[in-house]
């Protein structure tokens, strides 16, 4: 019944256009200030404390739903607690400072929460259907509810209770959970912008690693893996091989495409270059041919011989003249050369040139030549001593 009443009231107020948040906030502030005063004066009244706690939580819930309000200038629900706005109970403050979860605190917290739950629900979801109605919805498929029928549920008290019920104690040394929270929230202007988004993720992690390394060093926990420590990796060798192959492929593809582009560019200029080269070759050829032709003409035509400018012809004429002079000189010297005479004599004796065959055979003149014949020699008297006979010769030796 209470829940239904709350919804009706909420609807009515919406109709009227009452700035509910503002009113409530003001009321709470007044209430809390009063409470604080009374607390300072006298002992803490348990009932009042509970009210204050729930009131603070209501404010937090509103805070979470509405991002900014002038009255409560802090961003976080956390900060709302810690801020010296004047409507905060000391007990809550202490808890937040510790930040951890000690069992004593937890018990107290759960008690108070269970006590003031109905009021809390009523207040926190003042513009929505209360929790009890939503629980029936919760059993259905949440994913299939159309958004405009969706109701904001943000039961901060219950969330904090849940958080405290299972959170790790803050006294845990860093090496036990290795959790780093960045100093300031990561701001991403546009989540669709892949590059900048990933960059900010990277920066966040990098900062965390630097901080964590220092902390782990301080606690004496080994951080860096030595190079000779081998163990099973998350990605297998074949997976890494695939990655490498992919990288290599990509590099090759890039190189090939760059080459192709260069070739295309060359082809564009190449034609012009080739034409220029051919023209150059033709020109030089024509020039040399012209030179040769003019030379030929000069050699053939007599008219051109008198041309003293041509060095080539002058040189030829000089050579002929000098040779003629040389020959005349040698004639003048003539027989003076002894070697020349000896050769002549030898040639006369042994012959030089002419027919060698039948040179020593008789001819008519040599056969009629009797100059070498003597009768005396032929008759044997008074001639040369006779050769003794065989027996005589044998006796002698």
């Amino acid at each position: 019944m209470v829940a239904k009443g709350a919804t009706l009231k909420g609807a009515l107020e919406r109709e009227k256009g009452v700035n509910h948040h503002l009113l409530r906030q003001k009321k709470l502030q007044k209430e809390a200030a009063k409470k604080k005063r009374s607390k300072k004066e006298a002992e803490i009244d348990v009932g009042a404390l509970e009210d204050a706690v729930s009131g603070a939580e209501v404010a937090k819930a509103q805070k979470a739903a509405k991002a900014a309000d002038e009255e409560v200038a802090a961003d976080a629900a956390e900060k709302v607690n810690g801020e010296g706005e004047g409507w905060e109970t000391d007990e809550e403050d202490d808890e937040e400072e510790v930040g951890g979860v000690s069992i004593g605190d937890l018990d107290d917290e759960s008690d108070s929460d269970s006590d003031d739950e109905p009021f809390d629900n009523e207040a926190a979801d003042e513009d929505d259907i209360p929790l009890s109605d939503i629980e029936s919805l919760a059993s259905e498929d949440k994913g299939d509810i159309i958004p405009h029928q969706r109701l904001t549920i943000n039961n901060t008290a219950a969330l904090q209770k849940a958080y405290k019920s299972f959170a790790l104690p803050s006294s845990l040394p860093f090496s036990h959970n290795q959790t780093i929270t960045s100093a300031e929230p990561v701001q991403i202007a546009d989540v669709e912008d892949d590059l900048n988004r990933e960059l900010s993720f990277y920066k966040q992690s990098l900062d965390a690693v630097k901080e964590a390394r220092a902390k782990l060093k301080k606690e004496g926990v080994p951080f860096t893996r030595p190079s000779d420590y081998f163990a099973e990796m998350v990605k297998t060798e074949e997976q890494m091989g695939k990655v490498k192959a992919k990288l290599v492929d990509e590099a090759a593809r890039k190189k090939a495409s760059a080459d192709a582009r260069r070739q295309r560019d060359l082809k564009k200029f190449g034609k012009a270059v080739q034409v220029a080269k051919l023209q150059e070759r033709d020109r030089t050829k024509r020039e040399t041919m012209d030179k040769i032709n003019s030379l030929k003409r000069k050699r053939q035509g007599g008219a051109d011989l008198n041309d003293k400018e041509d060095n080539f012809d002058v040189a030829l004429e000089d050579a002929a003249e000098t040779e003629r002079k040389d020959r005349a000189d040698r004639k003048a010297k003539g027989a003076a050369a002894g070697a020349q005479r000896k050769r002549q004599k030898k040639d006369e004796k042994y012959g030089f040139g002419g027919k060698k065959k039948h040179a020593k055979s008789n001819d008519a003149r040599s056969a009629g030549d009797m100059s070498g014949f003597s009768v005396k020699k032929m008759k044997g008297k008074g001639g040369a001593a006779k050769r003794p006979g065989k027996s005589q010769r044998a006796k002698k030796f």
Binding site: R150, I153, L159, A162, N177
Partner: protein, 315 residues
């Protein structure tokens, strides 16, 4: 005599040690990882990736039911797990991830989008299987009550406690959780340390895994090696939908108003398409009627008869 003294001494020491242990807070986590039936290949691979990154996790067979999720509490109890990471697949395409602390909650249900598994990302990063990650959280996690709960649940699930069974020493990867656009973006990077050339001596003794006793002497010199990160994968984005007070049950303590279910999006798209068709058919019908009224259609509607028409004149 000596033996007696020794045993006495030992006993007293042990007792003291135990007392110290009892006082000392511990981080004991064990995660049960499982999926429902009807997951796609990509979801399955994502599950495997997460399992390989979390040495304190226990993978189980697919859960048969999608309605009685409280069975998971019993299952977790069976495997001595105090965390559950449950992949709920719907319609063979949508993935919802449940994070829960089994005996008494809380539970968070998130919609998982933009899933890229390690295998398909082809990043060059790699890390030891079973090394403990550094968890890096965005500061905006601490601003609201529900994000704090979310952060704590993520810490419990993805943070590897020091004493777990298959854990390896050294820290060589970092997991980043960032709140952007009301969603949690999860990334995983390898920490690659390159020795700075300027200070060869400090880097030499840093690379050696110095034993705990000698280490405090070399602290206070940050930046001996320059750190860079190489992404490993996987990538995923989680949109919180609902937080329950209990484990897979209990009252709803937070619900995200901004979340639009993928079914809704799809049906809107379909409706928009259907609307186009309806408009077109209505248009043609209207045109036909107009033409009929003008007498432009043969054999239909009223036709203006000329008073000088042959049939009228010679009737």
């Amino acid at each position: 005599m000596a033996a007696v003294y020794k045993s006495l001494n030992k006993g007293s020491k042990e007792g003291a040690g135990r007392a110290g242990d009892a006082e000392k807070p511990k981080n004991r986590q064990r995660v049960l990882i499982l999926s429902s039936r009807g997951v796609t290949m990509r979801h399955r691979h994502l599950l495997n990736d997460l399992h390989s990154l979390l040495p304190h996790s226990r993978k189980d067979a697919k859960l048969d039911t999608k309605t009685q999720l409280s069975q998971l509490n019993e299952l977790a109890d069976l495997y001595n797990c105090n965390n559950v990471l449950f992949f709920e697949a719907r319609k063979g395409k949508d993935l919802y991830i449940w994070l829960s602390k089994p005996p008494n909650g809380p539970t968070i249900k998130m919609h998982c989008q933009n899933v890229h598994t390690t295998e398909e990302l082809n990043f060059t990063g790699n890390c030891l299987k079973g090394s403990r990650p550094i968890l890096s959280f965005d500061a905006s996690f601490d601003k609201q009550a529900h994000t704090r709960v979310m952060k704590e649940l993520l810490t419990h699930t993805f943070g590897v406690p020091p004493g777990s069974r298959k854990v390896k020493p050294f820290t060589d990867h970092v997991m980043g959780f960032t709140l952007a656009d009301g969603k949690v973006w999860i990334r995983c990077y390898q920490i690659s340390e390159t020795e700075a050339a300027k200070h060869p001596k400090p880097t030499a003794d840093e690379t050696t895994p110095a034993d705990p006793t000698s280490l405090p002497s070399i602290t206070g010199r940050p930046g001996e090696t320059s750190i860079s990160l190489v992404e490993i994968g996987p990538r995923l984005v989680l949109t919180p939908i609902v937080i329950l007070e209990g484990s897979f049950g209990g009252p709803v303590i937070y619900e995200n108003k901004e979340f639009v279910s993928p079914n809704q999006i799809r049906s809107d798209l379909r409706r928009a398409k259907a609307g186009r068709y309806n408009e077109r058919t209505e248009g043609t019908l209207e045109r036909k009627n107009r033409h009929r009224d003008l007498g432009l259609r043969t054999g239909e509607g009223v036709k203006q008869v000329d008073p000088l028409d042959n049939r009228v004149v010679f009737a």
